[in-house]
């Protein structure tokens, strides 16, 4: 008789009983996930707390000297006149641009009979994979009053002297580029509600004599309005925490500062000159970005829960009626193709073009003569040699493995145990979604700084490990969404049946649970690896001489004026990503739709 599994049936009092019921599921199998997820999530909470704490100390956090100076100094700076207005323009502008593109796209690709719909949906995911800073580089060369290829082309075509449009040093330009960049995210967010629409509601309108267009405008659109709204909140949140695009398009020059760039430059001032480093101020910026995001996240999660509920109730047995666009099909096709060109096609082509030339010129026959692979010659050395390639590989692979493992551990506790704090753990796992990656990078930077003073022998400064850590934390929310969903879909019957068949927990894990969730884990791992591979902000923030990765090297080449080589590097990077992406599609057999929360 196993006494290990014996449980008391006598009632306990108060705390003891509660503690007991919390630990009821704590055998070996659940203990392991509990330990790992506990460590990971406590660390997340610790970093969030650390950033808050930083804002109230004058200097380094080891010299506690509580003060409100940081907040006052930030309030007195150009904050109110420049930074906040810019951030709001960028945030709202991005949400607007993304919605203007994503709403028709979501409708066209989900509710009409447009040809090649699935191929287009895959392309939307490919757009996500092209790094934001590379898209920004492309747009700088496309629309720019000094060097913009589009400006020149229009000048030439219309015989105008100067086309003054520019995406540089202009918050609207930043909103335009980020809007294009985040459109796929909005697209995937809208696709769910779009597909879940109860066709009976539309059919009722049709029976009442409304044609397709009347129905779409008066019935379908109002019905998905909550979905649009929550999507816009999400895009706003994401946009205000992005550093790379505003930095390239205007903040590095100091002309268009936003919250994210202020945070970055407070700790890592641009240029080589020695500047005072305002750690506390950086914390204030981080908190300012995170506070509205946390609020938005709360509403977003609630809205999402309702949307999911709705999907479950009406999703059964119905196939929403797809609208045949008839003679307007070509307009739909043109819209989709134009978007794909603007978001990825044109920026990539211009990069490819620039990488083949010694200096940027309009594509003409005379320019064709100058084409060479000069920029690709010695590219590896320019990027920092084998070390950078190795760093990038180690970073992508280790983040992918760690995120998958930890997400699985967290989800196991959240979905599969009756641990009392499981709901709180799920919320903490979502925190990295609201708290910008830059703020986590900052917190880690400070922790490493303090550690290097206290314990110089285990210094983490300038190591690859710290970049790995930042990425793991940042990707944890996405990873846990995938693993949560994967575990939820396994009915508990399947495991209980294993038990009745005499199998122990580990046997059930090995032969029943693991094979069933393997596809989701592979997907989460590969997708995380891809996103880490293209990530630049955190890697740049934490970069020192020895832990550079590919994206950081390209960034440095660009900012030091080596445009051609930077473009060559970008082209190589996008090519690798495209290759990895096609591998992903093969591995997961086109399960790309799960990428809706790609962040």
């Amino acid at each position: 008789m196993s006494l290990a599994a014996t449980r008391s049936a006598t009632p306990f009092d108060g705390w003891v009983r509660r503690a007991k019921s919390a630990l009821v599921e704590l055998d070996f199998l659940n203990g392991l996930p509990l330990v790992f997820s506990g460590i990971a999530l406590s660390f997340v909470l610790f970093l969030v707390g650390f950033v808050l704490y930083m804002t109230f100390v004058a200097g380094l956090p080891i010299e506690p000297d509580y003060t409100l100076d940081n907040w006052k100094r930030v309030a007195r700076s150009r904050m109110l006149t420049q930074v906040i207005p810019n951030t709001l323009i960028v945030g709202f502008g991005t949400a607007l641009v993304a919605t203007i593109f994503a709403l028709p796209l979501a409708w066209l690709l989900n509710r009409t009979t447009l040809p090649c719909r699935n191929a287009f949906i895959t392309m939307m995911a490919v757009v996500v994979i092209v790094p934001g800073f590379i898209k920004a580089m492309g747009w700088i060369m496309l629309v720019n009053d000094r060097i913009g290829l589009l400006n020149r082309a229009i000048e030439g075509a219309l015989g105008m002297e100067k086309v003054a449009w520019t995406v540089v040093n202009n918050p609207y330009g930043i909103a335009w580029v980020m809007g294009l960049m985040l459109t796929p995210t909005m697209f995937f967010l809208l696709s769910g509600p779009m597909r879940a629409l109860d066709p009976a509601l539309e059919e009722a309108a049709a029976v009442s004599g409304g044609n397709h267009w009347v129905t779409t405008w008066w019935v379908s659109l109002p019905l998905i309005w909550p979905g649009i709204l929550s999507g816009m909140i999400y895009i706003f949140m994401t946009a205000v925490s992005i550093f790379e695009v505003p930095a390239l398009l205007g903040a590095a020059s100091g002309k268009v500062p936003v919250l994210a760039t202020e945070l970055f430059y407070a700790v890592r001032p641009p240029g080589e000159e020695v500047a005072t480093i305002a750690y506390g101020a950086a914390g204030v910026y981080g908190v300012l970005i995170a506070m509205p995001s946390c609020l938005a996240l709360y509403f977003y999660v609630r809205l999402l829960a309702k949307v999911r509920h709705y999907e479950v109730v009406t999703g059964k047995g119905y196939r929403p009626r797809d609208i045949d666009l008839g003679k307007f099909t070509w307009i739909g096709m043109v819209f989709v193709v134009v978007y794909l060109l603007l978001a990825a096609g044109l920026p990539f082509l211009v990069l490819l073009w620039a990488s083949l030339l010694p200096y940027l010129q309009i594509p003409t026959f005379s320019a064709l003569k100058n084409i060479s692979l000069y920029n690709y010659d010695g590219l590896l050395a320019a990027l920092g040699g084998a070390r950078v390639v190795w760093n990038t590989l180690v970073l992508a692979v280790s983040v992918s493995l760690l995120v998958t493992f930890l997400s699985f551990m967290v989800s196991w506790v959240v979905v599969r145990t009756r641990f009392r704090l499981r709901k709180a753990m799920d919320i903490v796992a979502m925190l990295p979604h609201a708290f910008p990656g830059l703020a986590f990078a900052f917190a880690l930077f400070m922790v490493a700084l303090v550690l290097s003073i206290w314990l110089p022998e285990i210094s983490m400064r300038g190591t690859l490990a710290i970049i790995v850590l930042a990425n793991v934390i940042n990707r944890l929310s996405y990873g846990t969404r995938v693993t949560n969903a994967a575990l939820f879909q396994i009915q508990s019957d399947l495991e209980e049946c294993g038990k009745v068949c005499g199998a122990r927990n580990l046997t059930i894990m090995r032969w029943i649970v693991a094979p069933l969730i393997k596809p989701s884990l592979v997907f989460a791992g590969v997708w995380t690896g891809l996103l880490t591979f293209q990530e630049v902000t955190m890697a740049l923030f934490l970069a020192e001489s020895h832990n550079r990765v590919l994206s950081v090297s390209i960034w440095h080449l660009w900012s030091s004026g080596n445009i051609g080589v930077a473009c060559a590097g970008a082209v190589v990077m996008v090519t690798i990503m495209a290759f990895l992406m096609s591998m992903t599609l093969k591995l997961t057999s086109g399960k790309i739709k799960e990428s809706r929360q790609l962040g």
Binding site: T6, R7, V500, L516
Partner: protein, 381 residues
């Protein structure tokens, strides 16, 4: 209970499952709910016992406690001679060591395995391992029992509902458990298939002589399949008897109403009847001669239960003799093999069932006669 043995008759009846004072509560958002409140029952070897009751009565919870998938608050469970759960002795044998076979309501067929792999799991990976060489034979034997031998290599998701149900049964039988637990195994099948599977299941269990605990909310299923039925309501067993007794001699108004259709007439015993063991009850229909059970005496309030098929309904006959009442056909429903009538007698309504060939128009004046021997008298609850 020797009459109901399907297995080998033994001189001393061996109890395969004994449940004593089982209690299980669930903590929900809005407080604690007692799902099972101190129930006790036994399944002798070779007997098919059904827990019958409406949803939420605690029958599935009881089954899951027996399987070891829920931890009860109190009570004792013996499987064979083994104590598998006892709150007092602090014994809780985990599910994987209880040696029972179980078929889940959802079948719980593992979608990533073939039929063969599903059935082989308990003896290949589970706690009932046999030699590698024997696995194939055992699986094929189990699949043969349920008539699926030609589907061995088919992936599980490609099976129909009925086939999944059979695979699930084969998997529960492959390690030859002494006790079989079935959790509404037929409820996901369509009506026709359910009736076929019902008979097939009963025949299979007859052949194997395996002790079975079965859970269902379908009274007809329970009556057809079981040796004994325990009717559960609100966490308690109201009556446990063979099917015939449950139907003909219910001891609780709920049992009478849940198993089959029943008319309930409230009344009071006015006096002793002319014959021994009968009484006369004052009811809204009028005075009625009823059998008088030992625990009922003159002056007691009683519930009089009459099955719809037990009354005789005569056209244009004037009521004569005991328990004859004049009435009027108010409504009729044709259901194929019989016709259901609603007959108004004064302020009361009685439901009656007659063979399909008898055709009474609505508003027909009839006389209803209720034989005293068919009346069941219960104490109102």
């Amino acid at each position: 209970m020797g009459d109901f043995y399907w297995g080998v008759r033994r001189s001393v009846s061996f109890v395969m499952l004994r449940v004593n004072n089982l209690t299980k509560t669930f903590t929900l958002a809005d407080g604690r709910v007692e799902a099972v409140s101190g129930i006790s029952f036994e399944v002798p070897e070779g007997v098919f016992l059904t827990l019958l009751g409406p949803s939420g009565c605690g029958k599935t919870t009881t089954l899951r406690c027996v399987a070891g998938l829920e931890v009860p608050e109190a009570g004792e469970i013996y499987i064979g001679e083994n104590l598998v759960f006892s709150s007092e002795k602090r014994v809780m044998l985990p599910a994987y060591r209880r040696g029972v076979g179980m078929v889940f309501q959802s079948y719980a067929i593992w979608p990533h395995m073939t039929v063969f792999e599903n059935v082989a799991f308990p003896i290949l990976r589970g706690g009932y391992k046999v030699g590698k060489a024997e696995v194939g034979d055992r699986v094929r034997k189990a699949l043969h029992l349920v008539g699926l031998e030609q589907f061995e290599s088919r992936p599980a998701p490609l099976l129909s509902g009925g086939q999944q149900q059979r695979v699930s049964l084969a998997r529960a039988l492959v390690y030859e458990p002494r006790l079989l637990l079935l959790d509404e195994p037929l409820s996901n099948l369509d009506a026709k298939l359910r009736e076929e599977m019902r008979i097939e299941l009963r025949e299979l269990i007859n052949r194997l002589k395996i002790s079975t605990l079965y859970v269902t909310h379908d009274q007809e299923e329970a009556l057809v399949l079981s040796d004994r039925i325990a009717v559960m309501y609100d966490g308690q067993i109201l009556q446990e008897s063979p099917p015939r007794e449950i139907y003909l001699f219910p001891t609780h108004p709920f049992v009478a109403g849940f198993v089959g259709r029943a008319n309930f007439i409230e009344g009071r015993v006015a006096q002793q009847g002319a014959e021994l063991g009968t009484g006369v009850a004052a009811t809204p229909l009028g005075d009625m001669v009823i059998p008088l059970p030992a625990h009922v005496s003159v002056g007691d309030r009683v519930s009089i239960v009459i099955r719809p098929e037990d009354m005789s309904v005569d056209v244009d006959g004037t009521p004569s003799g005991p328990n004859s009442f004049p009435g009027r056909v108010e409504y009729r429903i044709f259901v194929g093999n019989r016709v259901q009538y609603r007959i108004r007698i004064g302020s009361s309504v009685l439901h009656s069932e007659l063979p399909a060939r008898i055709d009474l128009q609505e508003d027909t004046k009839v006389s209803v006669r209720i034989p005293t021997s068919c009346i069941r008298v219960l104490r109102p609850q």
